[in-house]
């Protein structure tokens, strides 16, 4: 179980790679140089802080601290999910956070107790990375699905109104829009799942392989994690749409337009 560290010199060479995209952007006058440099600097600082923080977290390994950190991750994930849509954040923030908490907590508990049998729920080195992967993946799906859901409803308002006038309950009238949204959230994951192991080795597996674990261990982790992510995305999207819908419709069943005006 030996692993090779990447040295400062190594990292320097990694950053040197950026010269190529920057050069191409410069030559083609693609105005993304500043954004590129800034994004990677920001990422490096964030990761450095995370490194320090995780070191501390793993050192102490205190359940309270772990759960607290998980809470921070959930809050940021929910904030991002709402921010990326053109919606009034205050109204939809709480329902989205609730959806994230419920989906992630259910799936984490399931993973840590039934899948990772005997594996510590209070172990920071299991809880934090796996929680992060569940959140990160649900986040992508939820952003796609909720924005598609509300955009679809606004663009195709007549379909919704027609359904209501044909006698549908609000739920029944929303179902086709929900179906389209969930499908768009899950399709990319299915695409990934289909080529996994052939085209690319996912991050978790790569990490475990580099850490010197046997490929079989890495694979079983990956299979279990993909299944959990798929499920947590489904729960998260479903709950997000159900819970936000309480805040987004008036008593007449009409979408509150003022929520979706771009500011």
């Amino acid at each position: 179980m030996t692993t090779t560290d990447i040295t400062i010199t190594g990292l320097f060479f990694a950053f040197l790679l950026l010269a190529i995209p920057v050069f191409v952007m410069h030559k083609t006058r693609l105005p993304m140089i500043q954004e590129t440099v800034w994004s990677f600097l920001r990422m490096s600082v964030q990761l450095a802080l995370a490194g320090v923080f995780l070191t501390v977290l793993f050192e102490y390994n205190a359940p309270v601290l772990n759960v607290l950190w998980l809470g921070v991750m959930i809050t940021v994930a929910a904030y991002e999910a709402v921010r990326k849509q053109d919606v009034n954040i205050r109204k939809l923030y709480l329902p989205t956070v609730a959806a994230f908490i419920i989906a992630t907590v259910i799936c984490l508990i399931y993973f840590e107790t039934l899948i990772l049998q005997g594996g510590g729920f209070s172990e920071a080195r299991f809880l934090i990375p796996i929680g992060g992967m569940l959140l990160g993946n649900s986040l992508g799906g939820t952003i796609i699905a909720t924005s598609l859901f509300y955009n679809d409803l606004q663009r195709n308002e007549n379909r919704y109104v027609s359904a209501l006038s044909f006698g549908a309950q609000r739920k029944e009238a929303l179902l086709p829009h929900f179906r389209a949204a969930l499908k768009s959230a899950l399709k990319p994951s299915l695409g990934n799942v289909a080529v996994m192991g052939i085209v690319f080795l996912p991050g978790l597996m790569t990490g475990q392989l580099i850490a010197g674990l046997s490929p079989m261990t890495a694979i079983s982790y990956q299979i279990a994690l993909m299944l959990t992510i798929y499920t947590s995305t489904t729960i998260c999207v479903t709950l997000s749409i159900i819970l936000t819908s309480y805040a987004s419709f008036d008593a007449y069943g009409m979408l509150k337009k003022e929520l979706f005006q771009k500011r």
Binding site: A163, F166, M254
Partner: protein, 210 residues
């Protein structure tokens, strides 16, 4: 005295700070046939939407069967009256699946729509094969007729119709207008610019313009 179905009482509609309809009043009793006309942007469609609670008056009130329309009554009205909007885009997919979908709603489960479907298709000159097509590939006129047929299959007797013959050809306009207006007991408020609707015994109301 016939039963009052819907009443607009001094209703105003404001779009972006401009009053497009002010002090509009209208009472429609059971069996009445009313045709509304007026220039586009005059707020006609908004008036019609108020009948099922998709829009609300800025001032004034709209009542259904003597009761002011609020959120609770709006849901009940949607179950017993039919509103057809001028937008014929009602969904995606195969026509048959769209129709079956409407009759899968809890409220419509017991309606024997299959029995009359063929009859209506013939009445409005649609081929049975239309049912197997993708709704989006239909022409405007075909979509309009499918929407009308679904509404008729629901078997309700109060109709709020927004330009439902606009995309139809001359003789079909006549046929659809005739079909709706010939039912004595049906209550109808229709927005239309088609002459087919302007018949004897029909109340014609012009809003907006001079």
């Amino acid at each position: 005295m016939k039963e009052e179905i819907i009443r607009y009482d001094t209703v105003s509609v404001v779009f972006d700070g401009i009053t497009v309809i002010s002090q509009f009043s209208l009472t429609v009793n059971q069996g009445d046939k009313v045709v509304i006309r007026g220039p586009s942007g005059s707020g006609k469609s908004t008036l019609l939407k108020m009948a099922q609670g998709y829009a609300r008056p800025d001032t004034g009130t709209v009542s259904y069967r003597m009761q002011e329309i609020d959120a609770a009554t709006a849901w009940a009205i949607r179950q017993e009256t039919t509103y057809i909007s001028q937008d014929t885009d009602i969904g995606e997919g195969i026509v048959w699946d769209l129709i079956a979908g409407v009759f899968a709603y809890t409220a419509n489960k017991t309606i024997p729509y299959r029995d009359c479907l063929g009859e209506y298709l013939t009445l409005f000159s649609l081929d049975e094969t239309t049912l197997d097509k993708d709704f989006r590939t239909l022409s405007g006129g075909e979509k309009q007729r499918i929407v009308i047929i679904i509404s008729l299959l629901l078997g309700r007797t109060i109709f709020f119709l927004d330009e439902i013959t606009a995309a139809l050809d001359g003789s079909m306009k006549q046929q659809v207008a005739e079909y709706f207006l010939s039912h004595q007991d049906w209550t109808i408020i229709a927005i239309s610019h088609d002459d087919a609707w302007y018949r004897e015994g029909i109340r014609i109301i012009t809003i907006g313009g001079k």
